[in-house]
């Protein structure tokens, strides 16, 4: 901790660490110094001149955003001169600003508008013609309106520093300055939309949201993004049961204000024209819409018959459904259908990791660790594409804490740009690089190791052995693919494990074995698309599918039950770092029901309601709290912030199945089957490029 410095702001005695900026010290003490270009976490710019303050013994006013506090400094933020400076600065900023607030997207949540109301002049002395440049579209999601721009350069810095993309620049100079995209008239970037979010005015607007609504017409619902496993909170702007936008300006959630293209735009699958809105039953080879009661009755009758003669039933769960739904599904399968034939698409070897860490505590990394720790080893994953938020955290740690980053990957990754060492190793052989890195890694007092699906089974044990032998503080993160991939394992959606990594006794069939089984009488697929990669071996299997779309699997189904999306339900999900977070329902599903309710209704129809219990997500969560180790967290606490779970602290009695672990390595613009139904993800040109090279 740096030495404390004493000084005064507006007559108040204040203490702050040496090196603290006046603007920050003032903010911490409840004194607001207005600014546009100053942005916490980004480099200093001192461009907007809005934060001018008087400092005693300094001949001119000073910019508070670049002025470090000094002992005995006397700062005044509320004098006639300061007020006049703010007013004049605003008058200058408005010289070429079009003042089209009534039609501007930002109107109502615009920093310039707020500042003018608070500090500005109602009238301008400027009578010359305003400069005008036409609006430009840089990508399907990014539009730039030059005249509105006040040249704070937040977007340029957020893109270069925060994202490591540097797709934006400033051309020309002085009043003619304009923000420019990296490829002539268009952007080639991550399409994350951070630049739009961070823009204090309406200069950068979102193709998905512009001219659709006003901020005050929406309800803002904080929920968790349903795409990758990073677990970013996205705040959905909802107007009349329609999602208008996604952002996270209140910085709540593990991700602060970060969101990638998926969290910001890819909610748009929810009202896709191909959403299934009615249950369907196969009649004469074709799927025909039927009532819920008919469909449920058929499912219950078939399941009941097969169960009564102990026929083979397989259940495949999802990496997107909630913990409650996963828990409820496995309970139904095990206690209702008397089978351990329950599995899901496994994407990372969490099982071996928790087993290898048996007896230790606090060695599973949190998303916050990825910002706070000073060294990172990334193995076999292109983080910037596959886990954009984790990558963002590590990049921020590099910028703010000079973190050392080591990468061991098959191809060049974005982390290489600032890594202290990058090693190229073919997929599957990454661990060979460890010994070479030993000396360097052992010199790091703290380290987080992140690994993809290339490291599994014995590989994980070898990696943990290596990490523990360094003799330093090492944390681990096993990368998994989807929003609740981690929760699916924690909740026992695997044949060999019950919730909380307890052995199930007699293991059942894996996904692969179910699909290959000639004797499988029924297959129940909840929110997954296993038949994407190949047909079901048995032609006679009775297939029930709960999904939002007619996926390859749903097309083979005998009964299709329309399911609600993550944005249409409440519950909890667990991210890649084991942090449990709450989903909050944003819109109402039309024609569809939540998977929890569907499972409950099938149970009721089969007279199994007493066995599986009620289908209220709170009730199921309370059962999870009691039965799944590490999950004993009151819901009220989750409402405040994410809580990391430690699902097991002891040996896991069964071996994981590394042969069944395959990550899809989805990039920024793909997201399994779900991503195919997002118009925006498919409209950005980068996604086409990705498809071509893939």
């Amino acid at each position: 901790m740096a030495d404390l410095v004493k000084f005064t702001i507006d007559g108040r005695e204040i203490e702050a660490a040496a090196g603290t900026l006046v603007i920050e010290a003032a903010k911490k003490n409840g004194i607001e110094i207005p600014s546009f270009c100053y942005y916490e976490g980004l480099s200093l710019q001192a461009a907007c001149r809005m934060c001018l303050v008087e400092v005693e013994k300094m001949p001119k006013m000073q910019v508070a955003c670049t002025l470090p506090v000094g002992a005995g400094m006397v700062v005044r933020t509320d004098t006639e001169q300061v007020r006049k400076a703010r007013k004049t600065t605003l008058e200058f900023l408005l010289v070429n600003h079009p003042l089209d607030c009534p039609v501007c997207d930002k109107g109502g949540e615009c920093e310039l508008q707020d500042m003018v109301f608070k500090y500005g002049a109602g009238e301008s002395r400027f009578t010359e013609t305003k400069m005008h440049v036409d609006e430009q579209q840089w990508s399907p999601v990014v539009f730039y309106d030059g005249p509105r721009c006040i040249l704070c350069f937040r977007c340029v810095r957020a893109c270069e520093e925060g994202m490591g993309v540097a797709a934006l620049g400033v051309v020309n100079r002085g009043a003619q300055s304009l923000i420019a995209p990296n490829h002539g008239d268009h952007l080639e970037c991550d399409e994350c939309g951070q630049c739009i979010d961070i823009c204090p005015v309406g200069a950068l607007t979102s193709g998905a949201y512009r001219y659709q609504t006003r901020p005050w017409e929406m309800e803002h619902v904080g929920t968790i993004c349903t795409h990758c496993s990073d677990g970013c909170k996205t705040t959905l702007g909802v107007r009349g049961d329609e999602i208008m936008r996604g952002n996270n300006r209140d910085r709540s959630g593990v991700n602060g204000e970060f969101l990638c293209a998926k969290g910001r735009y890819a909610y748009d699958f929810y009202n896709h024209a191909e959403r299934i809105q009615s249950p369907m039953v196969r009649v004469g080879g074709k799927l025909e819409p039927v009532s819920w009661s008919k469909a449920l009755e058929l499912v219950a009758r078939k399941f009941g018959e097969i169960r009564s003669r102990s026929g083979e039933i397989g259940v495949i769960g999802s990496s997107h459904t909630t913990n409650e739904e996963n828990y409820y599904l496995q309970k139904f399968a095990r206690q209702g259908l008397n089978t351990n034939n329950i599995d899901h698409h496994r994407t990372g070897d969490v099982v071996t990791l928790v087993d290898a860490l048996s007896g230790t505590t606090g060695q599973l990394a949190t998303t916050q660790d990825l910002y706070e720790k000073k060294a990172f080893l990334v193995i076999g994953a292109d983080l910037a594409l596959e886990h954009p938020f984790l990558s963002y955290q590590i990049r921020a740690s590099f910028r703010h804490h000079a973190a050392h980053v080591y990468t061991v990957t098959a191809e060049k990754v974005r982390e290489d740009d600032y890594a202290v060492r990058s090693v190229r190793k073919a997929a599957g052989t990454e661990l060979e690089a460890l010994e070479d890195l030993r000396a360097a890694l052992a010199a790091e007092p703290e380290l987080v190791i992140l690994f993809g699906d290339a490291v599994k089974g014995d590989g994980v044990r070898k990696l943990v052995e290596f990490g523990q032998s360094l003799g330093t503080a090492v944390k681990y993160c096993a990368l998994v693919d989807y929003a609740n991939s981690r929760g699916a394992i924690d909740m026992g959606l695997v044949p060999e494990l019950l919730p909380g990594y307890q052995a199930s006794g007699k293991s059942g069939l894996s996904v692969k074995e179910m699909l290959a089984s000639q004797t499988l009488e029924a297959l129940w697929v909840v929110g997954a698309n296993p038949l994407k990669s190949g047909p079901l071996a048995s032609k006679k299997t009775f297939v029930v599918v709960q999904d939002m779309f007619l996926t390859e699997t749903a097309q083979r189904a005998d009964v299709v039950l329309p399911a609600a999306s993550a944005y249409e339900k409440s519950g909890t999900v667990t991210n890649v770092c084991g942090e449990v977070q709450r989903l909050t329902r944003a819109v109402t599903a039309v024609g569809a029901k939540t998977d929890l309710e569907i499972i409950g209704l099938i149970a009721k129809e089969m007279s199994l309601a007493a066995t599986v219990g009620p289908w209220s997500s709170e009730t199921v969560y309370n059962e999870i709290r009691k039965t799944v180790k590490g999950y004993n967290i009151p819901l009220a606490m989750l409402a405040v912030q994410a809580q990391q779970t430690a699902p097991v602290n002891g040996r896991v009695a069964v071996e994981s199945r590394p042969d069944l672990i395959h990550s899809a390595h989805d990039g920024l613009f793909t997201s399994g089957t779900l991503g195919r139904y997002s118009k925006i993800l498919n409209s950005v040109m980068e996604s086409r490029k990705e498809t071509v090279t893939a």
Binding site: A166, A167, L168, G169, V170, V171, N172, R173, A180, P181, N182
Partner: protein
């Protein structure tokens, strides 16, 4: 993109002059000498400079937009630059500029149809002691009067080389 051996050698020198992680420092000199040889800052030149200095093409474009002496469009064979900053202005710089426009029929940053002469109103070029000053390509003309300017332009238009026009004082740098 390839350049003359002389320019290539010059670029080599620039790039060797700065530390390995500061190669971008060579962007400005490379652009100005590249412009002299290519005739303008073309997209191709921007990409080439970006490639050689490790900058992104956008970063080089930012520099080009900032400096008024870097031109995206080709200039005339003789680029006539008239200073109208304070020292020149006080002793007739504005009149000189008006005369230049009238004489050539060109405006600020315009080029004659035959590509011979282009005109630009420029900021201070450090010739205040001999104001008003005019610069043609890299040559300075001091204490220029409107009559001398006419003769200079007539001479250039008649195909004379600047050094063959005796009426004006030329100082080569």
């Amino acid at each position: 993109m390839t350049f003359s051996p002389e320019l290539e050698a010059r670029f080599e020198k620039f790039l060797a002059k700065y530390p390995a992680d500061r190669k971008r420092s060579a962007v400005i000199p490379m652009l100005i000498y590249g412009q002299d040889e290519v005739g303008a800052i073309t997209d191709e030149l921007i990409n080439e400079v970006a490639k050689r200095t490790g900058a992104t093409p956008l970063q080089v474009t930012e520099v080009v937009g900032f400096y008024s002496m870097l031109h995206r469009k080709p200039q005339g064979k003789y680029h006539v630059q008239v200073c109208t900053n304070i020292s020149c202005l006080l002793v007739g710089g504005a009149e000189l500029w008006e005369q230049a426009c009238k004489k050539t029929g060109l405006g600020h940053k315009e080029t004659s149809k035959d590509g011979l002469i282009s005109l630009e109103e420029v900021e201070c070029m450090g010739a205040c002691s001999w104001a008003p000053a005019v610069q043609v390509n890299y040559d300075f003309y001091h204490d220029v009067t409107p009559e001398q300017l006419d003769k200079l332009i007539d001479g250039l238009a008649a195909g004379k080389k600047p050094e063959q026009i005796a009426e004006v004082t030329k100082v080569s740098c």
